[in-house]
Structure formats: C-alpha cells, structure tokens
C-alpha cells in the first residue's frame, strides 16, 4: 500500500516544488510581493505531506516523522513571525527559500535514517536562535572599524588549534571536539575569512593589501591541505578570487592569483595521493568502478535509476552510496524524487545566491558590499562544486550541499551566512531611509 501512495506522491512533490519555484520566480523577477504568503503555504504543505507519507512506511505509524514534520512547521512559522515583528525584515523570499530547502533536506534525511533527521531538526532549531544572535552581535559591533588584525589572528589560531588537537573523521582532520560535541571550525572560518578579506579590501587594493591577503590565503590553504580538507581550500580560494576580481582596478592581480591557484592545484595533484586518486576516478570512473570511483559511480547509478520522476520516497536504494547523507544527498534526491526535483532544487539554490548578490549590489558601503558578495558566492559555488562532483563533471570534493546536507556545523554556518546577509541588507535600507 505504501508503494502506491509513495508512487502517487512523486507527482504531488514535484508539483509542490514546481509551484514554489514559479511563485518565487514571479516574486524575484516580477516583484509580485502579494504572492509571498503562498510560499509559506507550500513549505508547510510540503513538509506536512512528505512526513505524513513517511510516517506510513512501517506497519505502525512512525511518530518520529509526525513529530519532526510538526516541529519543522512550527519553528518555521514562529521564526517567520519573529523575523517580521522583531527584526523588521520585509523581504522574506530568501528566508522562505532556505526553509523550503531545509524541509526537503529533512525529508530525505528522515528517509535515509530517522536519526539524522532528528539531529538535523535540532540543528535547525539552533539555527533559528542563530539568526537572532547574529543580529544581536552585529548590532553591538561597529562594522566600520578595522578589525582585520584581530580577525586574521583568530583565523590563524583556529587553524593551528585544529591542526594540533583536531580529530580525524572520514579522512579529513578538520574536526574539533569540545565536551564530546564535535564541530568543524572550517565551516565557520569560511564566513570569518570573507569578513576578514572584505575589511582588507574595502579601501581599495594596493600592494600592501595584496601581500597581506594573498599571504593569508596561502597559509589557510596550506593548513587545509595538511588537514586533507580539499573542499574548504577550494572554496576559500574561489571566494578570495571573486572578491579580488570585483575590487581589482587593474586586472593583473586577479590573473596572477588565478594562475597561482591553478599552479597550486597542479602541485597538490602531484603531491597528495588522495587528490590524485580522486582525479583518476573522475577521468575514468568505469575503470575504477569497484575501487576509488566506487562512490561516484554509485552516485551516477542512483541518479540514472531515478529518471525524471524518481522511484518514489523509500522505494529506491540511495543507501548504496557511501556518505549519501552529507556530500551525496543530491543523488539520493534525484533517485527518489526525480531529476526534475533535482533541477528545481538547483534553481532554488541559484535563487538564494542571486538574492544575496542583489543585497550586495544594493549596498552603498564597500565593506558590506564585499561581505554580501563573498557570502552569497560561497553558497553558489558550494552548490556548483558538490553537484558537479556527484554528477562526475568535476572530481569529487568533500563539500556539503547548502541547507540540505546533514551536518550541524555546515547548517549553522549557512544559517549564519543568511543571517549576516539579512543584517547587512536591513541596516543598509535603514540608513537610506534615515
């Protein structure tokens, strides 16, 4: 019986996703602000219906699914009201899109293992608090002051601490354990690094600034290389290059830095065996199908088996892919809810990036402009890199899919990212009105 329901539900799920996408496009491009409430309705209906379906999977009704679904909807509605009333935010498209992605993520995580979904729900609740914390802290700090020294030292110390006392999990030594809570400092460092580089760049680029910033990026990349955190190193580099590209009046520093980055990538290819094996797996996935390309070929099997509409929730076999709940969650989505859903999710993440970039163009202050640009490019690139990775367009790098992948550090840092974007946007609007 569940099979039939799940089978039919595929259409409903895609319909909900598609109507969300269309509504958000009409709001973003055609300024149809009156459609905003529809988004909330779609989010709640999607979460409620998906978890209702999942609760029917076993003979006994799965109460965990019911709880998670209700808690998600509840936290979403409450936070949304507080956003309007307390933080005085009017433009909620970004917040709604993020919550839609979060809902999809929770559904897939619950399907993979209810425990992941329970933990992720708790991270989401922490995330709600994070929004307000970000606003509270940033109001106390005068962002116009030059904090670059303090930020630089903080980043360096964190990298050293991770290097010395880090815990190695699934090949990367980029975790820190405090009171048996583990987290990944690199996720938060990404944000701090963007603020740091923005503060350096805000007065324009001269040789001194260029030296300091490029020294920082090289040091950070070196640490990540030691910690085998290829993904973070890549993201740091790309975001740095983007900020440089926008600020750079002559173009040659950007070109030189890009060349340097490419050279470093080639060197690391030859220096690190794990990078080399990933590149080989990328070039010849079918040759190494049972060895080093196992993960990516399993991912391709999953996407290929789902087709446009997917197999239906709980009717596919996404668990054949190792690490499916983090880096490879996109393949699980494609297998069970279809490639169409995958494409819609891709476009929603594109929307999140574009809204952030719009915030950036609306900024008068250069520092704010750069921070918004860096933060939203980071979301965009993270999505592009991991999705191209699971599709074997580029070699696989350990990066999470924003708002969807399992993981406390990554989710909280992404929510922090959105929080900062909103804070800067509201303060810029406030200044203009004064």
């Amino acid at each position: 019986m569940f099979d039939i329901l799940s089978w039919f539900y595929r259409y409903i799920f895609i319909f909900l996703l598609a109507s969300f996408l269309l509504t958000s496009i009409s709001i973003y491009f055609y300024e149809k602000k009156q459609f905003q409430p529809f988004l909330s309705v779609i989010i709640v209906v999607t979460a409620a219906s998906s978890f209702a379906l999942l609760s029917l999977f076993e003979e006994v009704i799965g109460y965990k699914a019911v709880y998670i679904g209700s808690i998600f909807c509840f936290q979403y509605i409450i936070t949304r009201i507080l956003f309007i009333k307390v933080l005085k935010i009017k433009d909620l498209l970004l917040f709604d899109t993020v919550n839609m992605l979060l809902a999809i993520g929770l559904v897939i995580l619950y399907r993979l293992s209810p425990d992941y979904a329970i933990k992720q729900t708790m991270f989401a609740l922490l995330g709600d608090i994070t929004y307000f914390l970000v606003f509270y802290i940033l109001r106390k700090i005068d962002l116009q002051k030059d904090y670059s020294k303090q930020l630089g030292i903080f980043i360096l110390l964190t990298l050293i601490i991770t290097q010395l006392w880090g815990v190695q999990i699934s090949g990367s030594k980029n975790w820190i354990e405090i009171f048996s809570y583990r987290f990944q400092p690199s996720e938060f460092l990404k944000i701090i690094f963007i603020i740091y580089i923005s503060t350096l760049f805000r007065k324009g680029i001269n040789n001194n600034v260029l030296w300091r910033s490029s020294a920082s990026i090289v040091i950070a990349a070196a640490f990540f290389a030691l910690q085998r955190d290829l993904g973070s190193a890549l993201i740091f580099f790309i975001v740095y290059l983007i900020l440089l590209f926008v600020m750079d009046e002559q173009i040659y520093p950007t070109i030189i830095s890009t060349t340097a980055a490419v050279v470093m990538a080639i060197i690391s290819f030859h220096a690190f065996a794990h990078i080399k094996s990933r590149v080989e797996a990328w070039l010849n996935p079918w040759k190494y199908v049972s060895g080093k390309a196992y993960q990516v070929t399993q991912s391709l099997f999953a996407i290929a088996s789902g087709g446009l509409l997917g197999t239906g929730l709980n009717l596919g076999s996404p668990k054949f892919i190792p690490a499916v709940h983090t880096d490879f969650i996109f393949s699980a989505i494609c297998e069970e809810t279809g490639i169409i859903s995958g494409i819609i999710i891709l476009l929603l993440l594109c929307m999140v990036t574009l809204i952030g970039l719009n915030f950036s163009t609306n900024c008068k202050d250069t520092n704010n402009k750069l921070i918004c640009l860096g933060l939203s490019s980071m979301t965009g690139f993270q999505t592009l890199i991991i999705i191209s990775g699971v599709l074997n367009i580029i070699p696989i790098t350990g990066i999470t899919l924003p708002f969807i992948s399992y993981g406390g550090s990554s989710l909280l840092s992404q929510i922090m990212n959105i929080g900062i974007l909103y804070f800067i946007n509201t303060s810029e609007i406030g200044e203009r009105n004064e």
């Binding site: 290929a304 076999s317 476009l347 594109c350 970039l357 163009t361 490019s377």
Partner: protein
C-alpha cells in the same frame, strides 16, 4: 556604471549560466546516458527483483519468444528458449549476479508495466507481467549462424545495411544463460572468456578487410590510377612486409591489388597517402569514435603515428589498428548502402502485456561517409574479390556477392580469419562480418561461413 558594478553583474551571469548549464546537463544525462549507466552490472539495483511484476518477454523480429518468465512453485523462473544461441545478446538476469545484455539494458522496461494495471494488481495482490521487448534479430538466422561457429572462437554480425537492423549477433564460446550462477566460477576463470561478447566488445586486428578503408582513401585522393611492380615483398626502412605465399604479382593496378589482396601494393599506397590522410579516412569510418547504436560497443582504434613502419602496417590492417566485429559489419554496410552509415540497432519495439505498442524504434537517418560514386567503385571491386579473387568461397549461385577477406596476423598463434561482405550487390539485403579467431586464412575459413549465413538470410528474412 563603474568597473566594479560591471564585474558584479558578470559574476551574477556566471552563476545563472552555470546553474542552468548543470540543469541542462542533468536532462541530457537522463535522456542519453542514464540507460547505459544504470545497466552497468555494478549497479546493485539490477539485482533487486520487483516482487509484484513477472519479468516480461524478449522476442525476435517475428514474435518468437526467446526469453520469458513464469511462476513455478511461488518462485519466478526465467526461461531462455534457445539457450546458448542467444547467450551474449540477451544476457542473463539473476539475483546474485545482476544482469547483462538486453536483460540489463532493458531491465527497466522488462520489469515494469502499465501504471494503472500495476496499481490494480497491487491492490488485488496479484502479479502481472512486465513489458515485452522485441528485437530485430531473426531466430532462424541466429541459431543457424550460431551452429556454424560452434566449437570455434569468434563472432558473426549480420545487419540489414539499409535500416541498420541487426539480424544476427553471435559470439563464441558461449555459455548457458540458465545456469550462470551455478557455473559462475568456471565461467570467469575460463581462459577463453566465454562471458565476453566478442561481437561488440572483442577488438581484433582487422588485417586485409581494412584495405577497404585504404582503398576508399585512395579514391578520395584521386589515386585510382596508382600502379606498382610487386615482387612479393616490400621493405620499409629495414622492416619487410611479405605477400601471402611470398609470390610477386608483377605490375599491378588498384583493382587487381584489391581483388588479390596484394600487401606490397597497399603498403606502398598507404605510404603515398601519408599518415594524416589515412588517419582522417579511418576517423571518417568511425575509428576512434565508435558506431552509435542502441547497444554500446567498444570503440575501434586507429592510432595516429608518425613513422613509415607503423603506417605501412596500418595500411594493411596490422599494427596499431583494432576493430570490433560489429564495426566491421557496419563498414560492409556503408559500402552496401551507397556510402551511408545507418547505425545498427537491436531493439525494435516495446509493447505491454496486451501487445499494445509503448515505444517503437525506427532506423535513424543515415550519415554519409563517402560519395555514392566512390562507394559504387568499391562495391564493384568487392564483387571482383568474390568473382575472381581471394573470396571465391563466398560465391552464391545466381546472386552477386561483394566482399573482402582478411587474414590478420596476431601474437596468439594462427592468424584470425576475417570476412566482410554483403549480398545481393545490386540491392543489398544483408551485410555481414565474420571472424574466426586463429582460424587461418580469411578465404578458407570465414568466407564459407559468411556464404552460408548470407544464403540463409536471403531465403529466410522477411522485410
């Protein structure tokens, strides 16, 4: 607008284009690649049997059942009516081993049925039958050809050159698809690799059948008047290539050289054409590219070399040139079909259990490889090969056959025996490639087999 704002806009467009690009890639992936990827035997999903659906039938072009499933004491059994004759084409399907061949490629279709019917049967708790896959193969021709190759190692591929329909596809040694699981360890340890589908995945030196391509290059580069004096061997920088029996042919023209398969002539012709021209001609004939069909085959290769010795070998189909039997059949089909390649295909229709059509696959529009007049010249020369040259043993009374023999030297013992050809030459109904591994000369081993298959096909195949 200042520079920085312009660049921000650029970044925005970069994101829009990249995201949409990946979206399009996903669609392309779904429509053009996913079928081949999901049929890979490493995909563990192929081993999950759908409990509610009895796997559908596989039938030949006339509707003869080749593979079917039935419920026997509550377990579903897969029955292969003609066993070994179809082992590689149809493949096997099993819980422990996954599946191969058509069973793997059309697993999705075979193990699914009409949505509404499935739901009805699920509600009732009954099992229904999956879709039927209809092949272009002809059961009679397939079993007949299979018998001809019995006990040998090699492959036969027969096509309709005008439509690309594959009429027979044989690879030997074969295996019994019904008890693959029981014999698994023997099958994978067998030195003769019975599981390998030689017809599509076997790559061999083509030997003299490659002279068709050297000939085509000569025609395209106005060398049809080229002549040499053949004394039975030719020396290229210290490396000697001999003609069969070391006999010289004397002063020899293109037509005569092709008919008698003169190595000295073709080596010297190849050297005159040069590395680039030969490489380009081979590429035109889909070397290094592969022939696109519904079943994927290995890609035949022609490596670009700079030295004369390699080129000399390649001109007569030795050295750095390798071909699959299905590609060899496609080359015969190109000449038969006035220089136009129609991609070979093997599945013609998918129907549901009530024999209602779900999907039908028609021949693709062909791709022009060479001009009609050039194809006509090659065709005439191939007829001469059968009339008065190396391929006399492929002659059929009352039918004009065209062909080319090949005797490919290889490091594994006696040369491989090759034949490619088609008949009737004026209105080709069948194009064929036969290879017998280590069989000896092409004219004495492969050509008689091809002769029998063509004869059978001309009597038997209905359009």
């Amino acid at each position: 607008m200042n520079d920085s704002a312009k660049r921000q806009k650029l970044i925005k467009w970069f994101f829009i284009i990249s995201f949409i690009g990946i979206g399009i890639y996903l669609l392309v992936f779904n429509f053009f690649q996913s079928k081949y990827i999901s049929s890979n035997s490493y995909n563990k999903r192929l081993r999950n049997e759908n409990a509610d659906i009895i796997r559908g039938d596989i039938r030949d072009r006339n509707g003869v059942i080749l593979a079917s499933s039935k419920v026997y004491k509550n377990t579903i059994q897969r029955n292969y009516a003609y066993g070994r004759h179809f082992s590689h084409v149809i493949g096997y399907s099993g819980k422990a081993l996954g599946s191969t061949g058509i069973e793997a490629l059309y697993n999705q279709e075979l193990s699914s049925a009409n949505t509404i019917e499935t739901i009805k049967s699920k509600a009732k708790g009954e099992r229904i039958k999956g879709n039927t896959v209809k092949l272009t193969l002809d059961k009679i021709l397939q079993t007949y050809s299979s018998e001809l190759l019995k006990g040998k190692k090699g492959a036969i591929v027969a096509l309709n050159p005008k439509t690309g329909e594959i009429l027979a596809l044989i690879s030997k040694p074969d295996y019994n698809p019904s008890n693959v699981t029981e014999n698994w360890s023997n099958l994978i340890e067998d030195k003769n690799s019975p599981l390998l589908n030689r017809a599509i995945d076997g790559i061999y030196p083509p030997g003299s059948i490659f002279k068709v391509i050297t000939l085509s290059a000569a025609l395209n580069n106005n060398l049809e008047k080229y002549e040499i004096a053949c004394n039975g061997k030719i020396n290229i920088g210290g490396y000697e290539i001999k003609d069969s029996n070391d006999k010289g042919h004397g002063q020899i023209s293109l037509n005569k050289a092709f008919t008698l398969s003169c190595n000295s002539y073709f080596v010297s012709l190849g050297l005159k054409l040069g590395n680039n021209t030969m490489f380009n001609e081979a590429t035109k004939y889909k070397f290094n590219k592969g022939i696109q069909g519904d079943i994927k085959s290995k890609v035949s290769s022609f490596t670009k070399k700079k030295d004369d010795k390699s080129l000399a070998q390649q001109s007569i189909g030795q050295g750095d040139v390798l071909i699959t039997p299905i590609h060899a059949a496609a080359i015969a089909a190109i000449i038969a079909n006035d220089g136009v390649l129609v991609s070979p295909y093997i599945v013609s229709e998918i129907t549901n259990m009530d024999e209602k059509l779900i999907k039908s696959f028609k021949a693709k529009t062909g791709e022009k490889i060479i001009n009609k007049d050039k194809a006509e010249i090659i065709k005439d020369m191939m007829v001469d090969v059968i009339q008065s040259g190396t391929g006399k043993s492929a002659r059929i009374r009352g039918v004009s056959v065209a062909g080319k023999t090949g005797t490919a030297e290889n490091p594994h013992g006696k040369p491989h025996s090759w034949f490619i050809g088609f008949a009737p030459s004026e209105n080709p109904q069948i194009a064929i490639a036969v290879i017998v591994e280590n069989g000896g000369s092409g004219g004495s081993i492969a050509a008689p087999i091809a002769n029998k298959v063509m004869k059978k096909a001309l009597v038997n195949i209905k359009k």
